[in-house]
Amino acid sequence: MKQIDSINGQDLREMFAAATTWLEKSVSDIDALNVFPVPDGDTGTNMLLTMRSTIEEAYRAPDRSASAVAQAMAKGALMGARGNSGVILSQIWRGLAQGFVGKGSLTGSDLADALQQSSTMAYKGLSNPVEGTILTVVREAAAAAQAQASNDRNDLISVMEATVRAAKESVANTPTLLPVLREAGVIDAGGQGLYTIMEGALHYLKGETEQIQLRKPMMIASSVPLPVRLPQMAVSEVPYGYCTEFILKGEELDPDKIRLRLDKKGESLIVVGDESTVRVHIHTLDPGNVIHYVTSLGTTHKVSIRNMDEQLHDFVEMQKERLPAADMAIVAVVSGDGLADVFRSLGVAAIVPGGQTMNPSTKDLLLAVESVVSDKVIILPNNKNVVLTAQQVQSLTTKSIEVVPAETIPQGIAALLAFDYEADFETNARIMKESKSNVKTIEITRAVRPVRLGGLDIKRKQAIGFLDGDLVAVSESTTDALNRVLARVNLDEAEVITIYYGADTELPEAEKVSASLREQYPQLQVEVVRGGQPHYNYIVSVE
């Protein structure tokens, strides 16, 4: 195995120049990931621009010692930092530079120690550090570097390998730490960017210049499965305001004090630097106010004020190109958290709570329709009593609406599965409507009052079973009622049975039903899913 014991400043510069080339190849992929703190789709670009400035300055270092080159790089990063992730990246360089002070060349343990400082510096620049971001990635990567450096194999390559490996795992985990990532179905963009830089540096150390030339960085896959959803623009109607960035130059500047003063003036505040140069990044509704304050402290340079709501719009457009059928969205009426998960995991953009006992209003449906990015919306009422309400929505919106009149949950799911990613809106509405005939619905509930229905005398609280809306079974137990309804369906021709058990039903009961079904019909694929729905003990689909 190849080993490198130490590198000098020139190698350090070349290593990160190579890493910048590597990063450049995945800039657009990283841009597309960007949802936090603002989905403006520029993380990759910002990190690249920051790295370019870092490397340019590295060539102006007074000598070739690691210390001098790292100092120059830190200066370049601070001057050229762009965006949230760029500024945090500049802190990482600053930490490295501090760690390398006085060193002509670097060993594996020097690198590990300096990375530790980078992690500390990265957290320091923020008044409110958030986990599941580039911060977590640099912290966990630094810890892995430390661990490797205290090992027998502590040459530079081994330490860097451990760092890259830990960074990769850390990035894959970001969606578990930051809900906004999980909801958007992405990993953290800044974390991916940092990982890519480290990976590029490792390629250089290992002498894999051909890799850098020929290959492209892989985007890290999340450690948890993620559904793809568009940023819900209309949901958060709070404007994002202006991304305001500048460099403040003066004497005896106090970054901590500035951070404190600006803290209330906006979001995503980062203040980094020293007593002569301070870089500020803030998302604010009133950039004038911020600038006004800081000009009293010194001179401002490289002022950049960008309208983020405009950027968000561009980002949404970019996402539409990358995602399937982004011009169409599906809104579904569902009750029960388990069932809501089922619908969401199949690509529904918005869920309106409601069902048998709680019919949503036209306004509820309208709000959901307006909340999705798409202009063409398919509504799945999933209940007989909601179909008509859903059909009113078209008259209240400029969006195009199609109501697929699913009258039960299984019909709604069958319609969702029939959705054709290649077909247009009208065709999809048609094939979703046609899917109704492929599924039979069984619903089991308890009678709320005594009634005579379909020639059957039903006492209060007796279990009753419906097959496609018709009452066909009465029993004392819900499980027995289900078995009775199942007996009326020709299961020889069925392939898949899905049992969604309700909020008032226990899993073992549902599993008894599925076990006996599997025994009688070994060819059947039987699935038991927690629906969590109120009112119905069981909702069952037979396909």
Binding site: R215, K216, P225, L323
Partner: protein, 280 residues
């Protein structure tokens, strides 16, 4: 002089077709742990799926070395002065870049053009076959390029997966990411669009997924080539060929196995129908 055609192992071309049409296939590499195999050469498809099912380490693929392409080009350059390489989608593999850069490493002088097929499997294979046939009939390199570009939009495939886990792990999930994380067990149907993995449909059972493949073939008004490929379920593939024979002569349907380089990213239960023709 006849233009020579080069492709990579992802085209899934049956050996007999390769021989008959004089196509040069450059293999990708498949690595299990420390052991590297040349796709389809050092490791047969059967051995691979057997290993895939039993091995604790997951295989990874890597692009052919620039030297592998340069050698292939140089060897052909003894017989021709024009070479056309038709390569797996550059969005899925770096093979295209290697095929282009290798030109600079050639020892002999010969014009080489490289085209991104924007697809994979026998869909790519059909483009290669059509080019090889036209080359034999005397088409020059410029004419062949035009033929290839036209055929890129005329080939397509649908593949039925049991799981997208392998695609996800390999980082090639593309827009089919939308199919991940389903609470219900679903059988995803995948295709490639502009070279990127694209979701085509979902069913609740394997049988319905195979129906989807069948209906895809039926949606064509004119079929010139058809192939049915599997990874490790030959009986299913044979049954599908039987069904499709009502639409297209059975003896003209190519039966192919997915090459290990693809299997690495799809897993062992993949069934695929590829068509060249006109839809609608």
């Amino acid at each position: 002089m006849t233009v020579k055609i080069v492709t990579d192992s992802v085209a899934d071309l049956p050996l007999q077709v390769v021989k008959e049409l004089g196509i040069t296939v450059v293999p990708l590499n498949v690595r299990f742990g420390e052991k590297v195999y040349r796709d389809g050469i050092d490791l047969t498809t059967d051995e691979f799926y057997d290993k895939l099912a039993r091995s604790k380490v997951f295989p990874v693929t890597s692009v052919p070395s620039p030297a592998a392409f340069a050698e292939a080009y140089d060897k052909l350059a003894k017989e021709t002065d024009e070479i056309l390489a038709i390569i797996v989608s550059s969005k899925l593999s770096g093979t295209y870049d290697v095929a282009v850069q290798s030109i600079g490493l050639m020892k002999r002088k010969c014009r080489v053009e490289v085209i991104d097929s924007q697809t994979a499997t026998m869909a790519q294979g059909f483009i290669v076959m059509a080019a090889a046939k036209a080359a034999r009939a005397g088409a020059n390199l410029d004419e062949l390029e035009a033929i290839v570009r036209r055929n890129i939009s005329r080939v397509d495939f649908r593949a039925a997966f049991d799981t997208l886990e392998y695609l996800r792990r390999g980082g090639r999930i593309g827009r089919a990411q939308a199919f991940l994380g389903s609470v219900l067990k679903v059988n995803p149907i995948i295709t490639l669009k502009d070279g990127v993995v694209e979701p085509a449909g979902r069913t609740r059972s394997r049988a319905k997924a195979i129906d989807h493949l069948y209906n895809f073939a039926l949606s064509y008004s004119n079929i010139e080539e058809m192939a049915v490929e599997d990874t490790a379920t030959p009986e299913e593939a044979e049954a599908l060929v039987e069904r499709l024979s009502s639409k297209f002569p059975k003896e003209r349907i190519y039966r192919s196995r997915m090459t290990p380089a693809i299997g690495t990213h799809t897993g062992p239960r993949l069934l695929l129908v590829a068509v060249q023709g006109d839809r609608g």
